[in-house]
């Protein structure tokens, strides 16, 4: 039942994404055109706050909701995958103005076109799964 806590966390995430306009296609174009501070401000604050939270959690002995210690796994050092996957993701980010989480927020906000984006993205994850062993990482 403790898991139900993830529901309000999701709701807060959705509202934050909507109100900050970080899921706006207009704002994403503005960011890539280097025409506004808006998105850089949001991402910048999130990174600074994230660094502070990482630092505090690493110092503390706080447990997660399952009573386990909180550990941060290092990202795998697969730089080829990072750069090629990153470029592909960036193309999609600019095309739709959304990344994975925001797709769901935008569906909830009534932008029906994102149902197509969502289905397409889900198919793509399966295609990646099928091709994974043949791709350079």
């Amino acid at each position: 039942m403790k898991k139900l806590l993830f529901l309000p966390v999701g709701i807060v995430f959705g509202i934050t994404m909507f109100k900050s306009e970080a899921i706006s296609w207009y704002r994403i174009q503005e960011m890539f055109l280097f025409d506004s501070f808006h998105m850089y401000g949001i991402i910048g604050v999130a990174v600074i706050l994230g660094a502070l939270i990482h630092f505090l959690l690493k110092k503390s002995t706080i447990k997660n909701i399952n009573g386990e210690a909180i550990v941060f796994a290092d990202k795998p050092k697969t730089y080829t995958a990072s750069i090629i996957g990153g470029i592909l993701f960036g193309l999609g980010w600019s095309m739709t103005g959304a990344c994975p989480g925001p797709i769901y927020v935008l569906v909830g906000a009534g932008y029906e076109g994102f149902i197509v984006v969502l289905l397409s993205a889900l198919i793509a994850t399966f295609v990646y799964g099928a091709l994974k062993s043949k791709l350079p990482h």
Partner: protein, 144 residues
């Protein structure tokens, strides 16, 4: 070996990830609540270069409370085949790229960078290479 890796990827433990589905249901509810009860009462103010960009591509300016151009992202806002192409290929690129890179804006740009992960910095550079190429070169080709 290839088949083994394939099976690995699809051998997903749904049970231990059930919290993710609760989170996702929450994001949909959050989007709904925000759009119904918390939408802005005035239209978004965009930068000048962005306004010129939108005009050149023949896209509408944001109306009150609107986040994304309705002609592309809302059914009934003036359907065109090129818009459907954007939704389908954009979605595919997001899904494939996120899996391939091992993370997205949250996983790499925010959590990865704030935990000083070098692979995340490389991925974020990739995000911007792809995004800039799309905004400056590919979208104008598709839309005009």
């Amino acid at each position: 070996m290839g088949a083994g890796k394939k099976i690995n990827y699809f051998d997903y433990n749904w049970k231990s990830h059930d919290w993710l589905f609760l989170f996702l249901v929450g994001t949909v509810i959050g989007g709904f609540l925000a759009s119904r009860f918390m939408a802005n009462q005035e239209a978004m103010i965009l930068g000048e270069a962005t306004i010129v960009y939108l005009t050149d591509l023949g896209l509408s300016m944001p109306s009150i409370g609107e986040l994304s151009p309705k002609e592309i992202f809302s059914f009934g806002g003036g359907f065109q085949l090129k818009y459907l192409f954007m939704l389908m290929s954009g979605g595919f690129l997001i899904g494939f790229g996120t899996r391939y890179a091992g993370g997205c804006t949250s996983g790499h740009a925010i959590t990865g960078l704030s935990n000083l992960q070098l692979p995340s910095l490389v991925a974020v550079i990739g995000f911007f290479i792809g995004g800039i190429a799309m905004t400056y070169f590919i979208l104008p080709l598709i839309l005009s």
